[in-house]
């Protein structure tokens, strides 16, 4: 166990430079505004006095290093500035919208993993069969799909033509009242409240956007599963396992899959990065009230603190996800002993 713990600890330390790098870039982005940043952050309606106030608050009248210090101190206290379009702190705005986005992203990702991994395994165990061809088509077509376009056409087919899907406007049809806030995930909250009617309504709203996200995420996962499964099936340890007369199931799952899953996990990090980006597009298409929509509204309103707060928090979320994936990687990896 000690071996794994040391590895995990070392990996946690490795996140420090990336976090520092992210903060530096986002500091540069907030200061890269053409002209006087104070004027931008104070907003269009600001007078001389409030601009001066913002300048002092951001430390714009001091040297670069001191400004960076102030920026880091503010961040450490969770202060990302005020959103001009809503008049509330950026962090508060982001946190209140985060569950909507996370619910969408996580369900989309699970949908992609649950379809792409079996597909990749089937394609690898039956090379040249129709499953293999389906997998190849999906892999190349999937990465070429613009998410905003797939989303729109799912709406056209399932809402306009067939009438199966509810109107693509937000997380719940206006007939329903959002469940009491516990986790912020409408599906979970409605289950906790025992309100199955609302649960059904929220699931129905989720189907199209999560399928849109999932279709996009499936391609790299299926590709990687197929490739690493093929690799594992051709390896010496699988041959040995077969030669020892282990059942097909045990060889496939315990020997091949456990090793093949590692590169797939690494790909998941990349996929998550794409998903956080496509989330913005999907939220716009489905009027989903998440952080992506918030960032877009802020972009339109030239609300810079909100946009940069969004970029910074997405990057932090991505760092955390990558960390979690690497920790999981260490736990699954059969080559790292549980005891030594």
């Amino acid at each position: 166990m000690g071996n794994k713990l040391t590895r995990i600890g070392r990996r946690l330390l490795q996140a420090v430079p990336s976090v520092f790098g992210i903060i530096v870039i986002s500091f540069v982005l907030t200061r890269a505004l053409p002209g006087d940043p104070a004027v931008y952050f104070a907003g269009i309606m600001a007078d001389e006095e409030s601009i001066a106030q913002v300048r002092r608050a951001l430390g714009l009248d001091r040297g670069w290093f001191e400004q960076f210090g102030i920026y880091v101190m503010n961040l450490a206290q969770g202060d990302m500035g005020m959103s001009l379009s809503t008049g509330r702190p950026v962090l508060e705005e982001l946190l209140s919208r985060l569950p909507a986005s996370l619910e969408l992203t996580l369900i989309g990702l699970s949908f992609a993993v649950l379809t792409a991994v079996p597909l990749g395994i089937l394609a690898a165990t039956r090379p040249g069969s129709w499953v293999d061809h389906l997998c190849r088509v999906l892999v190349t077509a999937g990465v070429s799909l613009p998410t905003f376009f797939t989303g729109l056409f799912l709406i056209y087919i399932f809402y306009y033509l067939l009438g199966w899907a509810p109107s693509p406007l937000g997380r719940l049809d206006f007939l329903y009242i959002p469940p009491p806030h516990v986790t912020g995930f409408y599906t979970l909250d409605s289950l906790i409240a025992g309100d199955f009617e609302t649960f059904r309504a929220s699931v129905v709203q989720l189907i199209l956007p999560t399928v849109t996200l999932g279709l996009f995420a499936m391609a790299p996962i299926a590709r990687m599963t197929r490739a690493s499964m093929l690799n594992a099936l051709g390896s010496d340890y699988v041959r040995t396992a077969r030669a020892n007369g282990l059942s097909r199931h045990v060889v496939l799952i315990t020997y091949a899959l456990r090793n093949a899953v590692l590169p797939v996990l690494t790909t998941l990090g990349m996929v998550f990065s794409f998903l956080l980006g496509s989330n913005v597009l999907v939220e716009k298409v489905f009027s989903w009230p998440g952080i992506g929509s918030f960032a877009l509204e802020a972009l339109v309103a030239s609300d810079y603190a909100a946009v940069q707060g969004f970029v910074l928090s997405m990057a932090m979320l991505f760092v955390v996800v990558n960390l979690a994936i690497d920790v999981l990687h260490t736990i699954i990896d059969p080559r790292v002993g549980m005891d030594d």
Binding site: S18, I25, T140, F149, K284
Partner: protein, 281 residues
């Protein structure tokens, strides 16, 4: 050379999909180069009398809410979309390979700094970083190009670093050094031409992504502005009409975008098969 051509012919005959991709690529390039002379109508001319008419003989792709011909606009977009993607990819190729080559060749601090910079860029969800860059630098087409170039930079830096690193002690490099070439000259005339094939594969795989990225940015209202024709913004404009059943506004530009990206991805896979048969998946 003849051997290479024979190899190309072999790969092509093995893989008809790659041939199809090359043909599609040629069509897209022709549309991008000669689009303004091919279009049946002026892509910006509006005619309210025929607004929102479905596809018909006069307008095969229908007309949009201002009566502009969708086919002409889809063709005219090819130039802008490819222009953005090509300039962005060229920029990140030039800067990325210069950084990557020196990192792989000199090692030490150069390597560490270049590695750290690309790691930091990769630590962001890339589309989100592009949004942040455009928001900070200002909403214009040039800044879309810069943002797309920056987020693609790490890929080129990494590939060129790895490829340079394995060649920096090759026989031909020693020979060039013995004949009195400087480091910079060796990098430019000996190593760089040798790492071009894997870089070409990277470029072609990257082009599709750059097009998708640029279209995504203009879909959310960054960069290209109406009335300019561009696939992403046309889909965005058509989005409001989808719910009322006017599908042709968004379908055709979206399909064009999809085909272009699909073509670049197929081309990238095909090129990889030609350059590096071992990495076929």
């Amino acid at each position: 050379m003849i051997q290479f051509l024979r190899h190309v012919r072999y790969v092509m005959s093995e893989n008809p999909v790659t041939v199809a991709a090359f043909v599609m690529f040629a069509i897209i390039v022709i549309l991008a180069l000669f689009g303004p002379w091919i279009v049946p109508y002026d892509p910006l001319a509006s005619n309210m009398r025929i607004a929102l008419s479905p596809p018909n003989w006069a307008h095969p792709f229908g007309t949009d809410q201002l009566g502009r011909d969708v086919l002409s606009r889809v063709i005219a977009s090819a130039r802008l979309d490819l222009g953005i993607a090509v300039s962005a990819v060229a920029l990140s190729f030039l800067i990325g390979s210069a950084l990557g080559c020196s990192a792989g060749f000199y090692g030490g601090w150069t390597d560490r700094i270049v590695g750290r910079v690309s790691d930091t860029i990769m630590a962001f969800p890339l589309f989100v970083l592009a949004m942040g860059i455009v928001a900070a630098m200002g909403n214009s087409i040039e800044n879309i190009i810069y943002a797309t170039a920056i987020i693609n930079l790490p890929f080129y830096a990494r590939v060129s670093r790895a490829e340079t690193y394995i060649r920096r002690n090759a026989g031909f490099v020693h020979a060039a050094r013995l004949s009195g070439n400087t480091n910079a000259r060796i990098l430019a005339t000996q190593i760089f031409p040798n790492i071009l094939p894997p870089m070409m594969v990277q470029i072609s795989l990257n082009m599709g992504w750059a097009v998708l990225n640029a279209a995504g940015l203009s879909f959310i209202g960054l960069g290209v502005r109406p009335p300019d024709a561009e696939w992403g913004i046309m889909v965005a404009e058509g989005a409001t009409y989808i719910i009322s059943g006017e599908w042709w506004l968004a379908l055709f530009p979206g399909a064009a975008l999809m085909l272009a990206v699909f073509c670049f991805n197929l081309l990238g896979d095909g090129l990889r098969d030609m350059v590096d048969p071992l990495r076929r998946t």
